[in-house]
């Protein structure tokens, strides 16, 4: 009974992805035949070839990668410093206020912020830049700070006390002594930010306009509105777009799960 249920869940989870991969390996004609072919008669990488030659998907992929890595790394550093401070800060009322401020950010609908952000950035002539987009993404540090705090909570302060006695400054103690112990937390916070940033669509649509600045979600979005992009190429695009987050997830899975549950269950 248990085995059957486990298999059902497995099937439900992997079937959609498998079907998109199968679709991406078919040629255009076989996609539009009915009844469906469950295996392509001649598997081909043609759609991937078209994706990278006509659609310049390589460039979009590189843009997304640069933005996501930069933003996630920036958010990580700020979250680690802030989370450490929050974990060690001892004034109870202040601490509650700070946490309230952090949790409030999780309630605000992201779309309410988009127009004001756009207006601010265009007043400063800072729109349509991948660097600015990365900076805007990197500013989402609330959840990372909460996650970092809960990781530091589990490390006894006596460790950095010892470092301070040896003559380190607080920041030195953080980076030389504490961080090596917190590696799982670092992986979790980075992966979590990376996944969220890589997947973000609407802000990117709003802030970017030129062809050379397209990121992956924006490219997929323009595929569906563009006539002439068929489902084999679109499927290939989807498969490629999912790869980075799947890789990040499978590498950091253990830590992400620990981070998610620590971050929001215990706060």
């Amino acid at each position: 009974m248990r085995a059957i249920l486990l298999l059902l869940f497995l099937g439900f989870a992997v079937a959609p992805l498998c079907w998109i991969i199968v679709t991406s390996l078919k040629n255009t004609k076989e996609i539009y035949t009915f009844p469906l072919l469950y295996f392509p008669s001649q598997p081909t990488l043609e759609s991937y070839h078209r994706l990278f030659s006509f659609a310049k998907f390589g460039l979009y992929f590189r843009n997304s990668l640069v933005v996501s890595v930069l933003a996630a790394a920036g958010a990580l550093i700020v979250s680690l410093v802030g989370g450490f401070g929050l974990s060690r800060y001892t004034a109870e009322r202040g601490k509650r206020l700070i946490l309230l401020g952090l949790y409030f950010t999780q309630m605000v609908p992201g779309f309410l912020l988009m127009v004001p952000l756009f207006n601010m950035l265009s007043a400063l002539r800072l729109t349509d830049s991948l660097w600015v987009l990365a900076a805007v993404y990197g500013m989402m540090v609330a959840f990372g700070t909460i996650m970092a705090k809960s990781f530091f909570d589990r490390i006894p302060p006596s460790i950095e006390e010892a470092a301070l006695i040896d003559g380190c400054s607080t920041l030195q103690a953080l980076f030389r002594v504490i961080l090596p112990v917190t590696l799982p937390g670092i992986v979790a916070i980075f992966s979590f930010s990376f996944v969220n940033i890589w997947n973000e669509l609407f802000l990117a649509v709003m802030l970017l306009s030129s062809e050379s600045n397209v990121v992956v979600p924006v490219a997929l979005n323009s595929f569906i509105s563009k006539a002439g992009v068929s489902w084999d190429v679109l499927s290939a695009g989807i498969v490629v777009s999912l790869l980075p987050t799947i890789i990040v997830f499978s590498v950091g899975q253990k830590f992400i799960i620990a981070g998610l549950t620590e971050g929001s269950v215990k706060g």
């Binding site: 001892t90 779309f111 998610l260 929001s264």
Partner: protein, 320 residues
């Protein structure tokens, strides 16, 4: 809340005794140093969230259409009344859609996620690998998931139709995304697929913290599996269930990505939820004032919801 706000007494004692020196030869407390470490966090959040959210609220009370910027003065509640009395889409319909979308997604995500967590709670060979295959959907983009399911539910070449036809359950293909009777169900299926892993991950961690002795003594008393589930397991993980449901409600309500990828709110607005209507206002009508008004409405609903939810669930010691 209580747990996260607990402060280690012994640590505090040490802190008061120790002083560090800033560059000006004046001693400052350790706590001040820790507070300064939070300054970057709040400067960034201020620029990214606190200031924009205030501006967004102000915008909701101004006439602000990008196609007609000649007059951007305050117009009172005109944006709200324009949204609520919209002749093209009934606002009541949108509210109802939003409710169905949130409630149905939540119920199925929770029931399936909890079942999955119970199934993989005790170890079996290859559990780690199994977990990565059932949990990976959590890391995918909502928009891409929308596209994937749009293809699975395609009215002509969708695999869902093919399977049902071959099984003899239907006689001709169903337009899952073009038929108003099936569209909402289809987007909810996709959202459930996406959300099950999150619930399973959160609940699995909580399940593993249930002390074994509780079950042992229950077995001694002769309580069966079902009894144990309802009298030990569920009460024990209740705080996690309550806080996860609250968190998810907020996210699902603010999450138009899947619907946007599948139906964009159609057919005839049967899948238009508040967040989709907001996107339409901003990206199609360029009416930022009305878009912001919808944002304020969403935020208002969420605040009221969270307030009552936390009041009602206070007895389960929710730790947010």
């Amino acid at each position: 809340m209580s747990q996260m706000l607990r402060v280690d007494e012994g640590k505090a004692g040490v802190d008061h005794g120790r002083r560090v020196w800033n560059g000006f030869g004046r001693p400052i407390g350790r706590n001040t140093v820790f507070l300064w470490m939070l300054v970057p966090v709040f400067v960034l959040l201020g620029l990214r969230i606190y200031v924009p959210v205030l501006q967004g609220i102000v915008l909701a009370f101004r006439q602000y259409n990008m196609l007609n910027l000649s007059n951007t003065g305050f117009n009172g509640l005109a944006n709200f009344s324009a949204v609520i009395l919209d002749v093209h889409v009934s606002f009541l319909r949108i509210l109802l859609n939003t409710f169905v979308w949130v409630a149905a997604s939540l119920v199925f995500q929770f029931v399936l996620g909890f079942t999955l967590a119970l199934l993989i709670r005790s170890p079996f060979p290859g559990r780690g690998l199994y977990a990565s295959f059932v949990f990976y959907a959590w890391s995918l983009s909502g928009f891409a998931i929308g596209l994937i399911w749009a293809w699975l539910f395609n009215g002509q070449f969708g695999v869902a139709n093919d399977v049902l036809l071959r099984a003899g359950l239907i006689e001709r293909p169903i337009g899952f995304l073009s038929d108003p009777r099936f569209a909402m169900m289809s987007v909810i299926v996709a959202n459930v697929w996406y959300g099950v892993p999150f619930f399973a991950i959160m609940l699995l961690a909580a399940l593993q913290s249930v002390p074994r002795e509780l079950y042992e003594s229950a077995e001694v008393e002769g309580a069966g599996q079902v009894r144990q589930l309802f009298s030990i397991t569920i009460p024990y993980v209740m705080p996690t269930i309550v806080s996860t449901l609250l968190l998810r409600t907020m996210w699902i309500m603010n999450f138009p990505d899947i619907i946007y990828g599948m139906t964009s709110g159609g057919p005839v607005n049967t899948t238009t939820i508040l967040a989709i209507q907001m996107i339409n206002k901003i990206f199609q009508e360029y009416d930022y004032g009305q878009g912001s008004a919808i944002g304020v409405i969403i935020m208002g609903i969420l605040f009221i919801y969270a307030f009552f939810y936390l009041k009602v669930s206070a007895r389960w010691e929710v730790r947010l």
